[in-house]
Symmetry: C2
Subunit: 239 residues, 2 copies
């Protein structure tokens, strides 16, 4: 039996180069959307509704029972919203059973751009193991899709792509230099991921807002053993 294919897309601007119709697309936005999503769902949030705009977030949040609104712009809770975009902000005691309407820039946009995909799941270091287990079990083509920063390649998302390939690559067919580069980088970084990532544009940007502790947490592997899938317009846990 031939192996399914695995590829990596470094930027939403490159998405048109990949055929995603028969693929599982893993949306990767390590700092911090997909990390926050993994943490909140594993802590018992009922569902997360990703939206692009703050306005949409507010109006949707007002119409859903037991919902909170969340999202940041420039490292602060966006005006009109209730909560931020930190994986540390959603302990079980607070979030269990609630719906989060979450506005993010890069991750949400990519999620919606991948409408044609057979499946969309989200990935972060926090739930790396769950992502890998799921991809192995599904035996389908995979696109590791980096949300990047305003379409620019970023290190942390590609490092996660490399982590996936480093873990389960042998079970896939691969002829994709993006995946190769990501894996080389991950192998270089894996013994001190947080140290490595400190020389990156996103780390430097978010550090100005005092978010180092958040980013350190986002570099931890397998803190939240949860598989997150988009069902309709909602991100939910798949058992």
């Amino acid at each position: 039996m031939s192996k399914p294919k695995i590829e990596t897309c470094f930027s939403p601007s490159l998405l048109h180069l990949y055929d995603i119709k028969e693929s599982i697309v893993v949306i990767i936005d390590v700092f911090r959307a997909t990390s926050t999503i993994a943490a909140a769902l594993e802590q018992g949030a009922k569902e997360i509704i990703p939206v692009a705009q703050v306005d949409e977030c507010i109006s949707l949040g007002a119409n859903i029972p037991n919902a909170i609104t969340a999202g940041e712009r420039d490292g602060k809770v966006a005006p009109g919203l209730q909560h931020g975009n930190s994986p540390l902000e959603y302990p079980r005691s607070f979030i269990e059973g609630k719906t989060i309407v979450l506005t993010t820039t890069n991750g949400t946009r990519l999620l919606h751009m991948c409408n044609d995909a057979e499946q969309r799941i989200t990935g972060s270091f926090l739930n790396l193991g769950a992502v890998c287990d799921y991809l192995l079990a599904q035996q389908k083509n995979v696109l590791l899709a980096c949300a990047s920063w305003k379409d620019r390649y970023n290190l942390e998302d590609s490092l996660f792509a490399g982590a996936v390939y480093d873990s389960i690559g042998e079970h896939f067919e691969m002829n994709c230099d993006s995946t190769r580069a990501a894996t080389h980088l991950y192998k270089q970084a894996k013994n001190d991921l947080y140290g490595f990532i400190q020389d990156s544009s996103h780390f430097l940007r978010l550090s100005k807002f005092g978010l180092q502790y958040d980013m350190e947490y986002c570099c931890k592997i397998n803190q939240h053993n949860v598989l997150v899938k988009l069902e309709g317009e909602r991100l939910v846990t798949v058992m």
Copy 2:
């Protein structure tokens, strides 16, 4: 005095993210256009006219005195053309004083896409030192622009970008994860560049046409001490 900025663009599909109007753009197509260009010009070719299509190559070649036509498709001299796209094909005894009308796919397209740039030069490992010396002397913003393969990220072009930054980066301001990733990769690869590149999609593709020796040559550093610049529609040597 503030330092000029250096950035790396991994694919022509990402070019819109960069402001090139006040930049020197280094066009990078290691396998093999910019390697062949460096070799032929250093061996005394008068000029190289890069064109996109085989037809255009033939008609232009017929109208220029002392011109040859060159270009490959799928590893073979394209039908109707006289010569190929190998840096080893143009010794001084053959090429001195001649005009080469060269058709390539990825490199030529990117060269034309960068019309707005302040300057366009070409880069390859074969003329790495000349490129670095020129960039240092110019003290202008730099975009290291990878031709890639049909818009897909490739290893060899980004490794060259990393080689440039590894060599002269300290003289530039840099906050670009593509440049960081390229430099990490180059540092990993530099002691055995040809060995490293053998696990890459372009190497695997061109190997099928028996072009390993060509690619090995393209991985040699500073074989051709020549700075190549686009002047009008012609690539020429800058003294």
